[in-house]
Point group: C2
């Protein structure tokens, strides 16, 4: 039906509204993976799902709930955007392995094993000690593999990430981060992690969150795209995609919720600082979802082939969705 390559953003957390849905369409996004939970319990997370159900009911001309790779094709054919769900933290599964399948049945397709801090499953990138996967963590990864809930280690610490890659029977993802050889932020990833991730078929989604960018808000499109081209050389273009981490229209109270949830009475600034506590401004060449053509053009200007750019802009995530969102079959085990 369609010959246009798919365009996918594999991580956003916008304060969504008719405006952002229209911008997503204007940017030509066929699919977007949105964050459903940071610190929510299972029951609280369900309230977030209910809000999304209401969005789908009100805006069926723009968006619908995506759960399979076929939904991306359906989105392309109907001129809409398929919205996929993910958790940035395992808080919604609480201490209950059975909730992994329940969450998958509710349409969740990505779950981070940890968000900055130690979780019941693994260690986050802000802890001083990284003890790797916990007993529950190993069981949870196997169950996630079984049902088709993708392990995401974007906010996890090094050893935990390497152990998750190794322990998982299926490829995992780092949905939104950049290589630390380009910008040494605590959230960016080592060459060792990215090599191990991609050697097992895992995917890296490049982040456009300013704290993850060399030069921050002032990062140039050229610098970003050269970094992507270098990553394609090192890790293979087929293992790369985009996960912008776009947090459009969120109040600063939301970045506080992300950073401290209910675990601290003292503010923690994460990648920010006391004098730069809120969401930093996005770079001028990617201020919102209407700017996807800039990114596409910037990548093509690097010398990456059209097929490589098509893959990075969405084709690679689509292949990953097709292979990893369903139950584990005998072949994949």
């Amino acid at each position: 039906m369609t010959t246009r390559p798919p365009r996918i953003d594999n991580l956003q957390y916008c304060n969504v509204s008719p405006k952002t849905f229209e911008q997503i369409r204007a940017g030509g996004l066929d699919a977007v993976h949105v964050t459903i939970a940071y610190h929510e319990s299972f029951r609280e997370m369900v309230l977030r799902l209910e809000e999304w159900n209401r969005h789908f009911e009100r805006h069926p001309d723009l968006i619908f709930k995506g759960t399979t790779a076929e939904d991306v094709t359906r989105a392309q054919e109907s001129g809409r955007t398929a919205v996929f769900f993910g958790f940035q933290n395992p808080s919604p599964i609480e201490d209950d392995i059975g909730l992994i399948e329940i969450c998958h049945q509710l349409g969740v397709r990505f779950m981070q094993l940890t968000y900055n801090n130690q979780s019941l499953l693994a260690t986050g990138c802000y802890e001083e000690e990284d003890t790797g996967l916990t007993r529950f963590g190993k069981q949870a990864v196997a169950e996630m593999n079984r049902v088709g809930l993708v392990v995401d280690m974007s906010h996890s610490a090094e050893r935990s990430t390497l152990e998750a890659i190794d322990h998982s029977a299926r490829p995992i993802a780092i949905t939104h981060a950049n290589p630390d050889w380009w910008h040494p932020a605590r959230r960016n990833k080592s060459d060792a992690v990215l090599k191990a991730l991609t050697a097992r078929g895992g995917m890296l989604g490049f982040s456009l969150y300013p704290h993850h960018l060399a030069g921050g808000t002032g990062c140039t499109l050229e610098s970003f795209c050269q970094m992507v081209a270098e990553a394609a050389d090192r890790y293979g273009a087929e293992n790369l995609g985009i996960g912008t981490d776009l947090c459009q229209d969120q109040p600063d109270s939301v970045v506080e919720w992300m950073r401290v949830g209910r675990w601290s009475k003292v503010i923690d600034y994460g990648e920010g600082s006391a004098d730069n506590a809120g969401f930093p401004p996005m770079p001028g060449w990617f201020t919102d979802n209407r700017d996807w053509d800039n990114l596409d053009a910037g990548l093509r200007a690097t010398g990456l082939s059209d097929a490589e750019v098509d893959g990075i802009m969405g084709g690679n995530w689509l292949r990953f969705y097709a292979e990893n969102f369903g139950p584990l079959t005998g072949d994949a085990a």
Copy 2:
């Protein structure tokens, strides 16, 4: 693929085990609607879903989760039983209309608006006053219609049931009860209710719970089947099916949970009494799921046509599933 007519029990609450699953297969059941909740909150109900997920994982050769009419056909073709979920009370949706779609997404396909008592939605058959559908009840029925969650009024009072039939844009069900002209139990239904129900395409599932039977445990197969034949004359055989209410292997603590949940510190005996407080013995011609052939033969002996009996044994429920488990389309509104 298969020419055998479908066999469906549209209400059971057995204490399931490999034994009961094997008996369900021995009885030739292609589908069974099982109760997930009586008084459970949403979060507690999810624990019951987790238990079923574990059953499906452990016994994929016998059972799988059913959510569509096609699953019944799939069950027939693979020699297994599709298990459909329902609530006997709206407690799992709490006071939150958004939980209706969430529960449907989790696979729930039937929900009673009330279980014996007044609920947030309607009045149960044991209350002294029946005030009909509440404000929330009317909104909930419309939302259930929209998503494809069937209204079940088995334990509801007369006026509430008539109002639900009238208010619902789609046919509703009384999954497990008998006509009160055959046996005047409080749970059995008036001719007026059954006429209104079936005139709108609704379904009645005949119960084999002894308190609903003329003569109780001593009820004969002939008496039961003659009652079904009479109901076919009055209401049309195409609107009739079976909902045995089989509660095999349950301890008496479970009938107490059904009857008083957490709402009373004093025991309530429901259809039973102080000297007959537990589950009464089933009639000898239907002690468990291996006895479906007895029922089939008994119905054929009444003079009902083979097509009518095939419909009552499962074909009518299958048609009802096909028409009522999906989202409301413009046509059906």
